[in-house]
Every structure is written in C-alpha cells, then in structure tokens.
Amino acid sequence: MSLTTRPEAAIEQRPRHRSRAALATGFLVLVGVLAVVCFFSITMGARGVGLSTIWKAFDDYDPSVASETVIRELRVPRTLIGLFAGAALGLSGTILQGVTRNPLADPGIMGINAGAAAFIVFGIMVVGAQSASTYVWFAFAGAGAATVTVYGIASLGREGATPVKLALAGAAVTAILTSATTAIVMTNVAALNELRFWQVGSLAGRYFTVFWQTVPFLAVGIVAALCAGRALNGLALGEDLALALGQRVRRTRIVLFATVAVLCGAATAACGPIVFLGLVVPHVARMLCGPDYRWILAYSLLLTPTVLLVADIIGRVAVSPGELQVGVVLGVIGAPFFVLLVRYRNLSEL
C-alpha cells in the first residue's frame, strides 16, 4: 500500500497477501541487490579500486600495495560491520514495531541506542573499559535499561503505549542520558574528542578488531530475531487473541525485548548510535511483502544493510575526499520519511 494514501483510503487498501513464490523471488532479488551494494561498498571511495585488485588482495596479498591494504584493512571490515549492524538495527526495529504494535517504535526514537551509547561512555570513562568486547556488555545493559524504562513509562495508563507517549518517553530518556553523558565528558578533553566522532554513528575507522569483538553477539541476536516471526504474528492479533491461541504473551514479550537489547547494544557498540534506520526499513519491508512478520523479518534482514551501506557510500562520495558519517546521512534521509509517516498514515494501524 502506498504511503501517500489518506487514512480513510488506507483502511480499504489493506496490504495484499502475496503468493509465496512472489515473496521468494523478491527475497532473491534483494539478495542480489545487497551483493551489488557490498561490491560497491568495497570498491567506491576516496581511492577507487577494480575487481582485479580485490581478487589480488585476498589471493595474493602484497602489503606494499596501498589499494590492497585499503581493501583488506578498511573497506572489507567496514562493509562487514555495515552488514551485521544494519541487519541488527532493522530486525530490532521490526520486533519493536511488532511487540509494541506501534508504527513509530524505533531503537533511535525510543532512546535505546542512546541508552547503549550512554552506558558505553560510562563504561569507558568511569569503569575504564578498553575494548569493544568489554564495553559491549555496558551497551547491552544500557539498551536493556532504556527499553524497559521507555516502554514501561509509555505503557502506564489506560490506552497503553501510544505512539505519542512512546516517542515522548523516548525523547525524554534520551535527553536525560545526553545530559548525563555530557556532564561526564565535559571534565575530560580526550574523552570529548573521542565521543564527538563516535556519537554521530559511523562505519568509518571500524577495523577487524571491532568486527570480531561484536560479531558473536550480533549473530546470536540476528538468529534469535529471525525465529521471532511466529510470535510476532501472534502478538499482531492483539493480546487477548494471542493468549487465546495459547501464546505466553508475557514471556514472549520479555524474550523479544531482550533480543532487541542485544541487537541494539551490539550494533551501537559497533558503529555508534544510528537513528531512523530501524524505523524506516521495516515499513518498506511491510509495504513490499504484506503483514506476515516472518517475511517482514527476512526482508528487513536484507533491506536494512542495503540501506545502511548505500547511505555509507553516499556519505563517502558526496563530500569526497572527506566523508559524511552514515548517521548524518540517515538522519537527513530519515527525517522526511518520519514526517510523511506521521502525516499520512493512520497511526493506530499496527
């Protein structure tokens, strides 16, 4: 269904159920698109490289050739992190929208990424955590705490977690965390210098160490998320019906929120807080493949890294030889989409 339809029209145009063959074909097409984007992500940038160089970099690596080093040390880890972190953010957005039945649920808007970021800063500054494999635990704690706080606050009251309440609670918690982070960082110039690059959200300067330190958690979270389709389909029917169908709603919610915390925490540890990505892509996926969460999850798994890597490439090419962080590109692209969503969609629809 189209985003530009008015709410009245949207009710008539329920998403069509597509045949399984069509959905599978779409999935394969997306795999192809993602592969192409990965290729461009490795080749494009301040230093353009050809296919033969990529081949040589892995088959017959010569450390004295700059292009081959760039590929092995910079572009490939960057692309891999983009793949995993993107998938994690997209899946966590999908799960959040499904669990809260709220079209504006998003790890960025809900302050989950900010929670992870604040705890990471706290871990580095106060506890002295050095490597990503240590501070990723702080990220989990922060993401979990923020999820519980924001959702808990927003769901108090008789209408439950409405979009406005959820967004405001998220904005409020983000504001609290930001002022706490700033208060810590203001006392230390070196930390400030580090934080200002990290807090934008970027894939640049992420080497293999960061990748290997975060990928186990990302992989576990992604697998867990992909198994969530059936549970989300049940929850989409409403709490009462899901209960009647024999689903243990409370336990399902807790497991799903924990999955979101792991996904967002690890993604934030890998590439900093990124907004709008987890909001936008699940909606696109839902437009493409209808209301079945098993397919939405599968499509988000491929679409989100595609969008993240494309935004990263745009950032590299737009201000070449400098670079626009991917968080900025997504902030600029995502905001108009958010506005469209608020204006034209019947927000109580999920």
Partner: protein
C-alpha cells in the same frame, strides 16, 4: 444555568482558589527576589544584602562594591532571572496549547533547532557571541515554523505537532553531531559547552534584548491567558465559546518560540526548565495558577541551579548540567504519573 453557576458555594470556591493563586504567586515572587539578591551576594567577596540592593539601584557609594555587584554579578543574576522567566512561560504555554505535559520546547525540536544553528555559527564561521545568539534565535524561529507547516493539515493537532517536532529534533541533532565532529577540538568543546547551556556567558547586548522582549511579551502573554484556557477545553468548545482558535494558537506559539529563542540565544538550550516549571507551578498555586507563576518557578530553578553550579560544587559546571540532574528524576516521575492518569497522549 447562570443561576446555578453563581451559587454561593461555587462562588466561594472560586474566590478561595483565586486567593490561593495570588498568595502563592506572591510568595514565589518573593523567593525569586531573594535568590536574585543572594546570587549577587555570594562569591569570592561577600557583599551584605543591603549593599547589594543599594548598589544595584545606583545608590551605593563604594566603587569596589559597585564594580563587584553591577559589573560582575548583576549580569549573571539578570540572565538567570530572564532565562528562567522566559523558559517557564514558554514551557507552560506549549504544554497547555498542545494538551500534553511533556510537550515542552526542549523535546519538540525548538531547542535543537537553535542548537544546530548556534553550533554551526561557532564551528563553521568562528563567530562571536552576538552572531551565535542571532543564529540561535533564527534557528529556533525557523525550526518552529518548519514544524508548524509540516504539522499543518486542516489545522494543527497537538498530537501531530509533537511527533513531527520529535522527528525534526532528531534531524537537527544529527546535524549538530556532524558539525561537532567536523570542527577542531577547541571549537568542539566550546560548542558542547554551549549545547549544555550556562548563564554566565551572556553578552550585555543579548541580555538587554532578552529583558526587553520579556517586558514586551509578558503582558501580551497575560492577555492571551484567557483564550489559552478556552483552548484547553478543546477546539470545538473554544470555538463555541467564541474564541478564534487558530489565530490564538498561532499567536501563543509565536510568543513562546520567540521567548525560547531569546533565552537560548543568551544562555544556550538549558534543558528541563521549560518542562518542569509549569507542572511545579500548578502544584504550588493550585488550579487557579497562571503562566506568571510558571515563569517565576522557571526563574527560581535557573537561579538556584546557577547558585549550585557556581558555589556549591568543587569545580564549576555549566548550569544546564544541574538543571538536567534536577530535572531528570522529576521527568521520570512526571512521565509515570501523567501516563497513569491517562493524560499523556
């Protein structure tokens, strides 16, 4: 109907409420005045309150005291007072207008718009204080205009305004992040300090503008308080009561945005003051309280936060850090109670 409304019980209840509001507002004014004087008393060199007051109204005879009070401490105290008043009034108007106690200018994008423009001025063009203030003001106005236009669809609903404000706010914050990561470290630190907000940095020009704006805007806001109460009853009721809904709403939003803009231009986006001033004032004055009380509570918060930030801590911190620490737990509590009562969305 009129007869039942004017029954003696109702009338006495109304008189009691009004009396409570007037007494509470007066007490608030006295508290703010004491804090204002106290701010000028304490520091490296203690000045007794009588000397402070004499010197502030140009009746003192000791040039040393005059210098300390008028040149060093009066600007800070006046900034805290003005910024607090402006943020308190703007916050309560936003909250009433959008029908949501959480819809303060801090969260719906006005402050982050001001931040984005000011940070751009600091980092990109290395501007002086006056230019930074001017860009903060224009950032606040422009962002509010954008949010208003984007949220417009056969009128404004508070619900759309808040959500679009949050979206625009995220957009502005990603721009702030980008600019801060671009500049050199010194500029980045300056920009971060500005973003947190502190009252000690204002130039006299901006301060005069803020105080002038307050003198002009507070009476207008008091006049508009009546239509604002009608708007609180809902658009349809307000229309039926003969209120020009959209015109009043635009006027009120414009007034508060101008106040936030001037306050932010002087002291940076000091968080949470606009958010918490209104509800606290409401609690103190009871249902009859108005926007003046909210302004006074705002002033009390900023003056208090400045006193704590300057004198009670081992290293002096920006004022915004203190208001953040006061505001955060209150905000959580507010979110919880407001949502439980079902007024949050």
């Amino acid at each position: 109907m009129a007869a039942t409304l004017e029954a003696p019980v109702v009338r006495s209840g109304r008189t009691r409420r009004r009396r409570r509001a007037v007494v509470a507002t007066t007490v608030l004014a006295i508290v703010v005045f004491c804090q204002f004087v106290l701010t000028m008393m304490v520091g490296d060199h203690f000045v007794p309150p009588v000397d402070v007051m004499l010197s502030a109204v140009h009746l003192g005879d000791d040039p040393m005291t005059d210098f300390i009070v008028r040149d060093l401490r009066l600007p800070t105290a006046a900034t805290a007072l003005g910024v607090g008043l402006a943020l308190g009034i703007a916050g309560v108007v936003f909250q009433k207008l959008l029908g949501n106690p959480l819809a303060s200018p801090d969260f719906v994008g006005v402050s982050s718009g001001a931040s984005a423009f000011a940070v751009a001025a600091i980092v990109i063009s290395n501007a002086g204080a006056a230019v930074v203030s001017a860009s903060a003001l224009s950032g606040a106005l422009l962002t509010a205009l954008i949010i208003y236009l984007l949220a417009w669809r056969d009128g404004i609903s508070g619900y759309r305004f808040v959500l679009i404000g949050i979206g625009v706010s995220q957009f502005m914050l990603s721009i702030v992040g980008y600019i801060v990561s671009r500049g050199d470290l010194y500029e980045a630190r300056e920009a971060m300090t500005w973003i947190v907000g502190t009252v000690g940095q204002a130039g006299t020009g901006e301060l005069r503008t803020l105080l002038g704006a307050l003198v002009l805007i507070i009476p207008v806001a008091l006049v508009l308080e009546r239509p604002l109460r009608m708007l609180e009853l809902g658009d349809d009721t307000a229309k039926a009561l003969g209120s020009r809904v959209e015109l009043n709403r635009v006027a009120m939003i414009a007034l508060s945005v101008v106040l936030v803009g001037f306050a932010t231009a002087v002291a940076g986006p000091i968080m949470f003051v606009a958010l918490i001033a209104g509800p606290i004032a409401q609690r103190i004055t009871g249902p009859g309280g108005g926007i003046l009380a909210a302004g006074l509570v705002g002033a009390a918060i900023v003056l208090g936060a400045d006193l704590v930030a300057q004198h009670l801590l081992p290293t002096s911190l920006p004022t915004g850090v203190i208001t953040g620490i006061i505001g955060a737990p209150y905000l959580i509590w507010l979110l919880a109670t407001v949502n439980r009562e079902g007024r949050g969305g």
